[in-house]
């Protein structure tokens, strides 16, 4: 027994480190979990990118679920995500709202003109002040907000077709059942 003790200790460490490697391949250790899931979205009022005189607010969006996608023209990963949104955005069955984050409006408009615009509406947050309330710490990030204005899901990083299929669509279907 006492002779196999070092071996047992070694195997325990192998197990521990193996678990660490396995865990980190499935999870991004830099990902900050959002404490806002299941809580009401922060009250926001943001101008539209195309028409800054008009604003969108949390109150004006109540009543139906929608997906907010935080993007920016300077964000490289948003360029990776963009074709996915172009292909699947319209098939999600709910409004896709762009959230232009810390971006010059002319850059964002040029970016959308060049790559296509998958959004039903784009709100602009140039100073990034409202984004702090949402706990945004980079782009892209996406928030699924239900008809009552509660944040139900957050995705950090670019959407892939797999993530949309596995995580987003089932949740959207569930939201539709809640509020037909």
């Amino acid at each position: 027994m006492s002779r196999s003790l070092p071996l047992i200790g070694f195997l325990l460490l192998v197990g521990l480190f193996g678990f660490g490697i396995w865990w980190n391949t499935g999870h991004d250790p830099r990902e900050v979990p959002s404490p806002l899931i299941g809580k009401p979205a922060p009250a926001y009022v943001l101008p539209l990118l195309d028409d800054p005189a008009r604003t969108v607010s949390k109150a004006s969006m109540l009543g139906k679920p929608y997906l907010v996608n935080v993007f920016a023209s300077w964000c490289i990963a948003c360029g990776e995500e963009h074709p996915v949104l172009m292909a699947e955005g319209r098939t999600l069955g709910l409004p896709l709202i762009g959230y232009d984050y810390k971006d010059a409006p002319e850059d964002a408009k040029a970016w959308l003109a060049q790559h296509g615009n998958p959004y039903d509406m784009v709100m602009a947050d140039r100073p990034g002040r409202t984004a702090i309330d949402f706990g945004v710490y980079g782009a892209p990030e996406s928030f699924l907000i239900d008809a009552k204005g509660v944040i139900r899901y957050k995705h950090i990083g670019p959407f892939t077709p797999e993530v949309i299929e596995r995580e987003l669509r089932p949740l959207i279907a569930q939201l539709k059942q809640e509020a037909p």
Binding site: V32, K102, D133, G135, P158
Partner: protein
């Protein structure tokens, strides 16, 4: 990783940088020196109108306990990331409103979770983190204790054998 702001370089600022042509080695060295110099004085290029020195000290203390979400090995006080600058302004604004350090921390925790705190709070989810080292120390101490006792017993038995041997030898004489 590419989704995040580059650490230390504010988005928008990095686009212009590639346009400047540093022809000679000397100019490159000067540029490098300037970058290092400005990085070291990140606070100096981001001045905030503090009421007095005490408030500045309090601000520095507080932002040193908060993690930059972008460059996660940096605190808010030191980070050059764009978001860190925004959050420093946010913290400053909250201080101006008369919020306490705990209220400001809670404000950020509400948005970014405990992750923003360099010292995670003691709660069931972090018990292992806080008390794990003590647990390992106890386990190590237990192993040492058992080993020492076992050896002590073995040594005693050994010496008894030696004693007996001596006695037997004595008997023989």
């Amino acid at each position: 990783m590419s989704r995040l702001f580059p650490c230390g370089v504010a988005p928008g600022l990095d686009r212009g940088a590639s346009k400047t042509r540093t022809g000679t080695l000397l100019r490159m060295l000067v540029a490098m020196f300037l970058v290092i110099a400005t990085a070291a004085h990140a606070q100096a290029i981001d001045p905030l109108p503090f009421k007095d020195h005490a408030q500045e000290v309090r601000f520095q203390n507080l932002t040193r306990q908060l993690r930059c979400l972008v460059c996660q090995n940096e605190n808010l006080a030191d980070s050059n990331a764009d978001l860190a600058r925004d959050l420093r302004h946010e913290v400053f604004g909250l201080m101006q409103q008369g919020k306490s350090d705990d209220e400001i921390k809670q404000y950020l925790v509400d948005r970014y979770s405990d992750f923003v705190l360099y010292d995670p709070p003691v709660k069931p989810a972090t018990w292992l983190l806080w008390f794990g080292p003590g647990l390992f120390l106890l386990m190590g101490a237990a192993v040492v204790l058992v080993t020492v006792r076992r050896r002590g017993r073995a040594a005693r038995i050994d010496s008894r054998l030696v004693d007996n041997a001596t006695i037997e030898q004595g008997d023989d004489w």
